[in-house]
């Protein structure tokens, strides 16, 4: 990626630079304001202003996960700049296009913000430092090797004379970007690896931060949209005249073949007019689809002869047939909505020659592609301005359905910016849902109860088939097997099973799937970790001891499990009435484990008291941010486990708001103790993996407390009264 930094300053001035200052670029918190936007640019990643302020460019999206601060730390570390003078700015996807993707991939999902860009952003910072030092050496006419940089100050060591980055920035920006850019050993980090405070907090405390929903543009109108409640249905007709006289209503437009939007002066006028608009739907072939009927399809898939193999060793079928004892169980995981706090929204302005979109997105480049397609204009005539996200969780990454809608609406009002906001009801019922699956697990045990064979048959929905069907080859969706893969750097299973078969019978419902924070690791970790717990109990062995025996060849999995269990005091008596459960998994490049402590009242009321979670992300760029991601993962994962369920009836999602789709609240939140055990040598993500251990650790603790084995989520549907 080094060539990324070999871009002349002039190409930036000529193309991309202007976009930072013109129009309606909204500077986020901690971002450089428009008046700072003029170069000097040292290289693509760094600008240094004459007063020594440093502006670092970030293209991954900040949606709460802290990647903005973490990436800035990595650049600043190699730049050796004064951290207190760092701010950030977001190049646009159009600028990236014009500069041959100099900043790399914008996609911010799969916990990849840092783990997939750490090298080139650090090289960006290091190259900039080398150029600044060279510029000082040139000015002093001394060998560059005699100069040192620290905290934005360059010193000529033999004479002690010094200058600052701001003073030499202009000259540095004219130098060629070096080709050979060595990076620091992480053990020498001073800014990276430290729990520095986030750069983007201040405006979130005063209401000043502008989210997509808050955008105001001159002459802007507002739109509300209603898509056919039945997936795959269409608009048959609507009676625009019925609402034409309502206050503020400007236009009623059909959006594609399945949706209708009302454009008005305010969103409240648009929304209430849309509620009053008579619409007749052609509900189509999916009008009778239901979760109940689809459950039968999933069940049939559990025993279907045709399945795609994801991981196999030995001969699991033969070993199961020969095993003196087998254990079998079926688990199920429902559809769930991402439920970002900020609903989907985008502002679009279309003219026959240009289309601009302002939107919270996890992938600015994908948003630009969607804009271009919907606008009917080449990408070079389009631009996307990323606005801060009120949550993402995967909903705002792969599919930009709301952007396409906003552009389609704006096309009906050329030249007028239109802000489309989805109501919570629209957001809840037109999500891209966590895939629905079931899993049948069958284990063979020898006479001593040792695990000799395991068959995991996953039946159910493929995210790729719904989102990126071109990536499904021969019916195989490799992402389905997350956390169950053979040994390797990603999402590998943590146990050695002599005879193992993991296979998938793809069964896709009418409900559109999406990447939902944690993705397929979520249900796979529940399936495997709860079933392993069942096997431990079948053998009459402590669940930790049972696991450790299978983990000799998986030292990293084992180390985090040991860190979590030691931290929790596994093996020591918990407080009276409190019971423990554990789980471990690996995904998004990191190893994670958790111990949950719970109690269950005689009436079956669950209280989760304490969680101890361990994470090995290889390198820990900001321990405080990792702790926050781990804490948040339990809120997201336990919300899903306790309450998360979207059900389909008559072709439509039944839940429409938080009253029917509850999530965890503060009062239900356990203490979370985070143990970070970075073992070095690799880069793992932290936004998602821990979610996957939240539910199984709690479910296993519930079993310990009650003898009740929960195999179907969410828990709100289950009785936890002691067996």
């Amino acid at each position: 990626m080094l060539q990324d930094t070999v871009i002349s300053r002039r190409s930036f001035l000529g193309t991309a630079g202007a976009g930072l200052v013109v129009g309606f670029h909204v500077a986020g918190p901690g971002e450089a304001r428009a008046q700072d936007a003029a170069p000097p640019e040292i290289n693509a990643w760094v600008r240094v202003l004459p007063d020594d302020r440093v502006v670092i460019r970030i293209v991954r999206s900040e949606m709460g996960q802290g990647t903005l601060t973490g990436l800035a730390q990595l650049v600043a570390e190699e730049l050796d700049c004064d951290w207190s003078k760092v701010s950030t700015e977001q190049p646009t996807p159009g600028q990236s296009l014009a500069r041959n993707r100099v900043w790399g991939n914008f996609s911010t999902g799969g916990s990849r913000g840092i783990r997939e860009s750490h090298e080139y952003v650090r090289k960006g910072g290091a190259a900039a430092r080398m150029m600044l030092v060279q510029a000082a050496a040139d000015e002093w006419k001394v060998p560059v090797g005699e100069c040192r940089a620290a905290s934005s100050v360059i010193t000529h060591v033999p004479t002690g004379r010094s200058t600052s980055y701001g003073k030499v920035a202009d000259a540095a920006g004219r130098l060629p970007v070096p080709a050979n850019v060595p990076l620091k050993d992480p053990k020498d980090w001073k800014i990276a690896g430290k729990p520095v405070m986030r750069l983007d907090t201040k405006d979130k405390l005063t209401g000043a931060q502008v989210y997509g929903m808050d955008l105001k543009l001159p002459g802007m109108l507002n739109a509300a949209v209603k898509d056919c409640p039945v997936f795959g249905g269409k608009v048959k007709s609507f009676d625009a005249a019925a609402i034409a006289q309502r206050s503020g209503v400007k236009k009623v437009v059909q959006v594609g073949d399945s949706a209708v939007a009302v454009v008005a002066d305010t969103w409240w006028h648009a929304k209430t007019a849309l509620d009053a608009l008579p619409i007749v739907w052609d509900e189509g072939a999916n009008a009778t689809a239901s979760s109940a009927a689809f459950a039968a399809v999933l069940k049939a898939g559990l025993d279907a002869p045709e399945a795609v193999v994801g991981n196999s060793s030995g001969d699991a079928r033969a070993a199961l047939a020969a095993a003196p004892r087998t254990v079998e169980a079926v688990y199920a995981y429902p559809h769930q909505n991402h439920a970002t706090m900020e609903t989907m929204n985008a502002t679009a302005r279309w003219t026959p020659t240009r289309c601009e979109v302002w939107t919270p997105t996890q992938n600015g480049e994908a948003a630009l592609a969607a804009t271009s397609e919907a606008a009917g204009l080449p990408a070079t005539q389009c631009e996307v301005y990323k606005i801060n996200l009120g949550g993402g969780f995967g909903r705002r990454g792969a599919v930009h359905d709301w952007v396409r809608q906003a552009v389609a609406i704006a096309k009906e009002l050329p030249g007028t910016p239109v802000k489309l906001i989805w109501s919570r009801e629209e957001d809840m019922q037109h999500g891209r849902y966590h895939p629905v699956t079931m899993c049948k697990l069958k284990a063979g045990l020898d006479a001593q109860g040792n695990l000799t064979a395991l068959h995991m048959r996953i039946s159910g929905q493929s995210i790729l088939a719904g989102v990126f069907p071109q990536n499904v080859r021969d019916g195989r969706d490799p992402v389905v097997f997350q956390g169950l893969n053979a040994s390797g750097p990603e999402a590998s299973i943590g146990y050695s099973v002599p005879n193992l078969l993991v296979d998938h019978a793809m069964r896709n419902p009418t409900v559109p799937p999406g990447f939902w924070r944690g993705v397929n690791l979520n249900q796979n970790a529940i399936y495997l970790e709860c079933f392993i717990d069942e096997l431990a109990h079948a053998k009459g062995q402590d669940p930790l001891a049972f696991r450790l025996k299978l983990m000799d060849k998986h030292p990293k999995h084992r180390a985090v499990l040991e860190a979590a269990t030691q931290g929790a005091g596994w093996g020591t008596p918990p407080p009276p009435g409190v019971y423990r459960g554990l789980a471990q998994t690996m995904g998004f490049g990191s190893y994670v484990a958790a111990v949950a402590e719970v109690s269950v009242s005689p009436a079956g009321e669950l209280k989760i008291h304490r969680i101890v979670a361990a994470t090995d992300p290889g390198h820990a760029v900001n321990p405080q941010q990792i702790a926050m991601q781990v804490e948040g993962s339990f809120v997201y994962g336990l919300s899903a486990a306790l309450f998360g369920q979207c059900t389909l009836k008559d072709g439509r999602i039944e839940q429409s708001n938080f009253d029917a789709y509850p999530v965890m609240l503060l009062k239900q939140m356990p203490k979370v103790e985070t143990i970070i055990v970075p073992s070095g040598g690799f880069w793992g993500g932290v936004g998602e993996p821990t979610i996957a251990v939240a539910a199984p650790a709690v479910l296993n603790a519930i079993f310990a407390a009650t003898g009740v084995r929960i195999r179907e989520l969410p828990l709100k549907n289950q009785s936890l009264k002691k067996a």
């Binding site: 405070m197 005063t206 209401g207 706090m341 900020e342 009120g390």
Partner: protein, 178 residues
């Protein structure tokens, strides 16, 4: 069964504020928002949330659900935390003091804001205006709240998962005030 936190009935004040006006057509009224008197002219049943956001340009107060479930739209009315999405304009009078996140302090110096900054509480931040307003109202009513008080008062939804830092932030703000 898991206890459903949503089953509890709203308090009397909220019930009164939720009563939706049946009056139609434009409606002019004076509101006292962040210490200023402002004249608002829009439909009587327009929720305060959308009056703040679209008539007065105060977008720090967020729309999250529209049914008083999530708390993103929490403001203070005469010091009490109220979910502004469920308060129609017609239910308000000029004597009621409405405070939004923009009016909580001039410069982010309210003890809750300072504690939030010190603990890096927000993640995406979208729910935090409501969280901060709810926390500030709690501390005004109970300067030294117990965990049970915090549990009861802080029913705002956060999807990023800041709850434990919200609790710590309230305690830190309480300690700073003590």
């Amino acid at each position: 069964m898991i206890h459903n936190p949503y089953a509890k009935s709203p308090n009397a004040r909220e019930t009164r504020l939720r009563a939706v006006s049946n009056r139609k057509g434009c409606f002019m009224t004076v509101l006292n928002v962040n210490g200023r008197s402002v004249t608002v002219e829009t439909e009587a049943d327009t929720p305060l949330l959308w009056v703040l956001r679209e008539q007065l340009g105060l977008t720090g107060t967020k729309y999250g659900c529209g049914i008083a479930q999530c708390g993103s739209c929490t403001v203070h009315i005469d010091g009490a935390a109220v979910r502004s999405c469920a308060v129609p304009l017609a239910a308000l009078n000029p004597n009621q003091k409405i405070i939004t996140i923009e009016g909580l302090s001039n410069d982010g110096s309210h003890p809750v804001q300072k504690a939030w900054a010190a603990l890096d509480v927000p993640q995406c931040g979208f729910c935090q205006s409501g969280m901060i307003m709810a926390a500030a109202a709690l501390l005004a009513a109970k300067p030294q709240p117990s965990d049970a008080d915090i549990d009861a008062a802080m029913s705002n939804i956060c999807r990023c998962g800041t709850y434990n830092r919200v609790r710590a932030g309230i305690k830190q703000a309480a300690a700073a005030k003590a």
